[in-house]
Subunit: 412 residues, 2 copies
């Protein structure tokens, strides 16, 4: 384990390095482009208190973000497993660069449009975890691969593998490919013979380079209780793990064996051959992950700190036991568990209305009136981030940078 001071050291370096990427013209993380393209009235000063921001506003606390980067690094330090964080969570080039600076070996994207957007901002070490099955998406993926030798894409079907090889040939390249092996029934080729045959096919196709396999278990991430999650995740990964062993025994170049998420980052390390975990939510956290429990506390998952919040304003306080705010579905999504109002344990927040949030309460720590601002931990970080153009990066409540959500809305 690194000492606190050296950990702090690399994080400071990481933040300084990333901040530099966003400050070619101004002192504190704010480019002219961001100013004109994203900031509403062009009048926001860096250093302003986040409580001065108009709402709804998406914020990330930099101290907590750094703590989370350090926790993942530290948590994996004693293992041979690396991290390759999933950028579908934050969709933000600035945060991806912080992750790489803190020791991650690359990032993942779920969609080719995310890969395009992040590559355009200088990210190269991209593993795309979903197969590209349309002609348009294959062309887009090959366009990235042609310019970026570090781009790796998933495949889960022999027809698709042949299409990829043909497209790579047409592009004049050899494309790097991993086979996505199903854990569950959502994506991927079934583990076992079919997966092995697909890996062998990819290995023989002229314009593809077989790099290994993925095995992501989406269903395991939110199993409550560390012990139950650990047992089930390790059992469910078995067919994929055996497939990995067969690939390896068959002489295939299984240099990548990637999967896992925030809920299993410290569990997948026990799978022989596993190379990297794709944790995404760990940078932000949310109410969904808080309640899964961890190895230290079976009730609350405390490995990572809730760094992501939404600021909202009370817009109506006429009615007893009830407040209306300006953050509804379009600002918080409909995910459950409901948002948590920081500092007001008696507030039950519902984001069920498109434009408005509703709070019901019996007890408040202080009187709440129209215009008051509240801070919320979001239900599920990924889709919430996707609702915003920018995230305000704050430290001790001061805005230190404004980061574009680079791949916001990139669902293709």
């Amino acid at each position: 384990m690194t000492s606190p001071s050296s950990r702090r050291g690399f994080l400071t370096a990481a933040v300084t390095s990333a901040a530099a990427l966003w400050t070619p013209r101004r002192a504190r993380g704010f480019t002219a482009r961001e100013l004109s393209a994203h900031v509403v009235d062009g009048k926001l000063d860096l250093g302003v208190s986040k409580w001065e921001l108009d709402t709804p506003a998406l914020c990330v606390d930099l101290d907590k973000l750094e703590q989370n980067l350090a926790a993942l690094r530290t948590g994996l330090a004693a293992t041979r497993v690396a991290s390759r964080p999933h950028a579908k969570t934050h969709k933000c080039a600035a945060i991806a660069k912080l992750q790489l600076a803190s020791g991650s070996i690359g990032i993942c994207t779920a969609k080719v449009s995310e890969a395009e957007a992040l590559f355009a901002e200088g990210l190269t070490k991209i593993l795309m975890t979903t197969a590209n099955v349309t002609r348009a998406k294959i062309a887009r993926a090959m366009a990235i691969a042609k310019r970026n030798r570090d781009f790796v894409q998933a495949v889960d079907h022999p027809d698709n593998a042949r299409e990829l090889s043909a497209a790579a040939k047409a592009a004049g390249i050899t494309a790097d490919v991993v086979v996505d092996v199903a854990v569950g029934t959502r994506t991927g080729v079934p583990a076992g013979d079919q997966a092995l045959a697909l890996a062998q096919l990819v290995d023989t196709l002229p314009n593809l380079r077989f790099r290994g396999m993925l095995a992501y278990d989406g269903g395991a991430q939110h199993i409550k209780g560390y012990r139950a999650r650990s047992e089930q995740a390790l059992e469910r990964i078995q067919p994929a793990a055996q497939t990995y062993e067969r690939m390896k025994a068959g002489g295939l170049n299984v240099e990548i064996f990637s999967g896992g998420g925030t809920g299993t980052y410290d569990i997948m390390t026990k799978v022989p051959g596993f190379t990297d975990v794709q944790a995404g939510s760990y940078v932000f956290m949310d109410t969904q992950y808080l309640e899964i429990g961890g190895a230290r506390d079976e009730a609350v998952f405390t490995d990572f700190a809730p760094s992501l919040t939404v600021l909202t304003t009370v817009v109506n306080a006429y009615f007893p036991g009830r407040l209306t705010t300006d953050a509804g579905t379009k600002a918080l999504t409909l995910n459950k568990p409901d948002p948590i109002v920081i500092g007001e344990p008696g507030f039950a927040y519902t984001a069920g209305s498109d434009e408005f949030g509703v709070i019901r309460y019996e007890n408040a720590t202080k009187p709440c009136k129209v215009g008051d601002k509240l801070e919320l931990i979001v239900p599920h970080c990924d889709p919430v981030v996707n609702e915003y153009d920018v995230v305000y990066a704050t430290r001790k409540d001061r805005v230190e940078a404004v980061w574009p959500i680079t791949a916001r809305g990139k669902s293709q």
Copy 2:
């Protein structure tokens, strides 16, 4: 009632007129700015089949959209009530212009950032239905009002009215204001004495011009069955309607009495003095509104046609009775009822995963394989539209225009 041919005539005129706004450089609805800013690879040809679009793709069928514009116009033609459609639904300047061209007297916005974005695209007749309660939002609203004499904003609290008057004075203007009278407990001043006193206050404040009142009943829109909806909506509006009568009797200039939505557009017409309905979803429809039932059919609301769809692609078909698609929560939201797969009544679609949709089925009208595209009616149009940068406007499945979602993500 206008004849079918003249109705068709005004719609053709409306579409031609609106299309002209988007075709300064190309023949068919596609500006160079849109091309560079929004279309992924710059290679999309207008006239292409929508089935060639990469997915997820948001589409609107122009024949159905025109049918809906005509249906609202026709439905209100015999009444003294106008339409002032709520732009929070579509957030799209092109569609707002079609609504005005089809006879609507203006549009509504829920947020000041929506008003800014639509005003920047040339829309002036904007009624903002939510009070601006922060210093920042008041400044933004006054900046619009200073340049746009047709801008009207809501107020629901005396303190806020005084702040608005002071801000209007500072801006050197008299700002147009309507009082938002609560129907339910979400927004607005309680009906009766408080609302009347607020109207009188607004009328006397030096830099505000009192224009009337709002009374929107969000809870009434989705009451199932026309008869039940009608009875409850008319009962719930009573306190606000009585407040209107008192304002009028008191000599106040109640030239606006606005409210209602897609579920009550033909019910609010029975409220004395009501001037305009704020229907929004009528242009698009969704599974939520289909099931409320209408005056013609108690089970299905057929007054308007489902014009809005999302195209999705099958990405996994390995597992029996199950398909995975590329449209999940970030493309369809978590709203219920679930999306409807057009032409496949046996498909149960769930958008519960961030990146993927899941279909469970026993019977399909035709075999479904990876790469096949499906078309979905969305659960709830407003938040779905907010996930996309553009909507493809199609006619007989050909892309006729690509419209930016002007106010996408404008939740402030």
